[in-house]
């Protein structure tokens, strides 16, 4: 009896969990639109959508909404990219930065700041250098004839180190009074400067990337197999792995170029999603997207409301991430994984 009943019960539980997460996300977005230096009641937020000409309309639609939507997209993107990297590299405790996307993007942004180019170009430089760092890591892995998981990790380590040293050089060359603080602030990660134009540039691409990653759950399940096993199932492992890495990297690089370095979410959220949904990536990825969105909306709201000035979002995620990681480690040790 149990074997007949339990799949149905499992499906019911899945629907309940997804509905619950979606509801929490809606509530988190609603709350984020209400709170801030200019507090609004839920009714006032509702009216702001109806009449955009008021002060409340300006606050909600021009300041808070783009920022909250960016938090939703970036949280979802970081979490799905993290879950993807964890599956591809067969390690449940990896962040999307494994192959050097953050080091590359940080270098790109810092170089842009020192060159004095406009913010859009800084974003593009960060994006391009994030991709370049991962590209270099992949190239190193293939050049030394080791395109397997270990080779890719080592290629990523070398590439990360190169871009980290380049970042240090740029910081050393930067004007310590004007440029260096800007670089440091950028590296801390923030959504304070995000507006509708950023969403126009990256919103659709981010959404598409997250949707594609969410749809590739079964591919990711297959990639968790050892290479020989996967190949014996007819999977062109090297190509599939490369495509998946490129997609997850594009998504991560976009988040860094919009919001700077936001740590821990890509590592922790998929992990918690897996605790709830089991290991199957067809469920883990969409749940990671929802939970990542919730976490980043909450963290960003906290960052901009906890004090008179604003704490950089990256600092908030680092702080709570480190504490949450402690709990995860305890669970991991208990489950023996």
């Amino acid at each position: 009896m149990t074997s007949i009943r339990s799949p149905a019960r499992g499906a019911g539980r899945t629907v309940a969990l997804f509905s619950g997460a979606a509801l929490v996300l809606v509530l988190a977005i609603g709350m984020a639109l209400c709170v801030g230096r200019f507090p609004l009641s839920p009714a006032a937020v509702w009216h702001a959508f109806a009449d955009t000409s008021t002060l409340a309309g300006t606050v909600v639609l021009d300041a808070r909404l783009p920022r909250v939507l960016a938090a939703v997209l970036i949280g979802a993107a970081l979490s799905t990219a993290g879950a993807t990297f964890q599956a591809v590299f067969r390690n449940p405790l990896l962040s999307p930065d494994l192959l050097g996307v953050l080091s590359g993007a940080a270098f790109g942004a810092a170089a842009g700041i020192v060159l004095g180019v406009n913010p859009v170009v800084i974003q593009l430089l960060a994006f391009a250098m994030g991709l370049a760092a991962v590209g270099l890591g992949l190239f190193i892995a293939h050049a030394v004839g080791s395109p397997g998981v270990l080779g890719l990790v080592l290629g990523g380590v070398i590439s990360s180190a190169l871009f980290a040293s380049a970042l240090s050089l740029v910081k050393y060359m930067a004007d310590p009074l004007s440029q260096l603080p800007t670089i440091v602030y950028w590296l801390l990660g923030s959504l304070a400067q995000v507006g509708w134009t950023d969403l126009q540039r990256f919103g659709v691409a981010l959404l598409a990337g997250v949707a594609l990653l969410c749809a590739s759950g079964r591919i990711l399940d297959a990639l968790t197999l050892a290479d020989d096993e996967a190949r014996s199932l007819g999977i062109p492992v090297t190509q599939v792995r490369l495509i998946t890495i490129v997609l997850a990297t594009l998504v991560s690089a976009m988040t860094v170029s919009v919001a700077g370095m936001i740590g821990w979410i890509g590592l922790l959220v998929p992990h918690v999603a897996r605790q709830l949904m089991g290991a199957g990536n067809a469920r883990v990825l969409p749940m990671s997207a929802l939970m990542g969105a919730i976490v980043l909306v909450a963290a960003d709201t906290f960052a901009r409301t906890v004090s008179a000035g604003e704490i950089p979002l990256g600092v908030v995620t680092e702080l709570f991430g480190a504490l949450a990681f402690l709990l995860v480690l305890r669970r991991l040790r208990r489950s023996g994984l």
Binding site: S3, T224, L225, G234, I235, G278
Partner: protein, 259 residues
């Protein structure tokens, strides 16, 4: 349905790992492949699976060169059962076996009712249906081996290549696995498995192949190929055998020097 290797050679750097290996596998057979560590068993297995390309010789699957087959088409005819399965994530037994449907279903679409039936059938066939929703990493070694075999059966492949399916199993599970393999051969599967246990090869196989330093030194009826004299020479230790009630047992003779 047949898998034939002819004149297979493989080189690892300067060392010839395999040198002129001929091997044939047909439906209904259980072929035990014996060899000391480093004899080239795993390399041969990987070449037969099409995972490695030999420097010389050809592998043909159903009279067609393996290289001419599409990889997915090979996976629908031939399945690999690894010795173990690194499982970094807590997949359930059902999810592990479902991966065996990839050659049939592809990666792009959801599993159909047919796939679900094939998965359920494989679990039933190996008597592990009650484990379907258990987490793979929480199972015993014997149960895990069955799950991997179930994944291979879910592929609907008729040729099974198994890498040391008995290694790491307790005595009871070894005997049950031997019986399972024989049952599969009776149902028309062709099974090739590597093993380090001559007595199991005699009991559980229809044919035995001895691989020594990259060459096949014997290929035939297990009782004729695997006996005290051949095993003493093969493994370089003093031993003989006794037959009791159709079963062959090997005795280690530490006082005697190997011939």
């Amino acid at each position: 349905m047949s898998l034939v290797a002819q004149g297979i050679a493989f080189r690892h750097g300067e060392r010839m790992v395999l040198d002129g290996v001929n091997l044939r596998l047909d439906a209904g057979e259980v072929v035990a492949l014996l060899g000391i560590n480093g004899a080239g068993k795993s390399t041969l297995l990987r070449i037969l699976l099409g995972l490695l390309t030999p420097v010389a010789g050809t592998v043909t699957l159903d009279d067609r060169p393996l290289a001419a087959w599409r990889r997915r088409a090979v996976a629908r005819r031939m399945a690999y059962v690894p010795q173990g399965h690194a499982a970094p994530f807590p997949f359930t037994v059902n999810q592990v076996v479902a991966l065996g449907r990839i050659p049939q279903a592809g990666l792009g679409r959801r599993l159909s009712a047919d796939d679900a039936h094939a998965i359920a059938r494989s679990l039933e066939r190996l008597h592990i249906a009650p484990l379907a929703n258990r987490v793979y990493t929480e199972l015993s070694g014997g149960e895990r081996q069955r799950v991997l075999l179930a994944r291979a059966l879910a592929q609907d492949a008729s040729i099974l290549l198994m890498d040391e399916p008995l290694t790491g199993l307790d005595f009871g599970h070894q005997l049950r696995m031997i019986e399972l393999i024989r049952g599969l051969a009776r149902d028309g599967y062709a099974v090739l498995h590597t093993t380090h246990r001559p007595d199991d090869a005699v009991q559980g196989s229809t044919r035995a192949v001895l691989l020594e330093r990259g060459r096949v030194v014997a290929d035939g009826v297990p009782r004729e190929v695997i006996h005290g004299e051949s095993m003493a020479a093969f493994y370089g230790v003093a031993l003989d055998h006794v037959d009791i009630d159709q079963q062959r047992f090997f005795r280690y003779l530490p006082d005697r020097h190997p011939r």
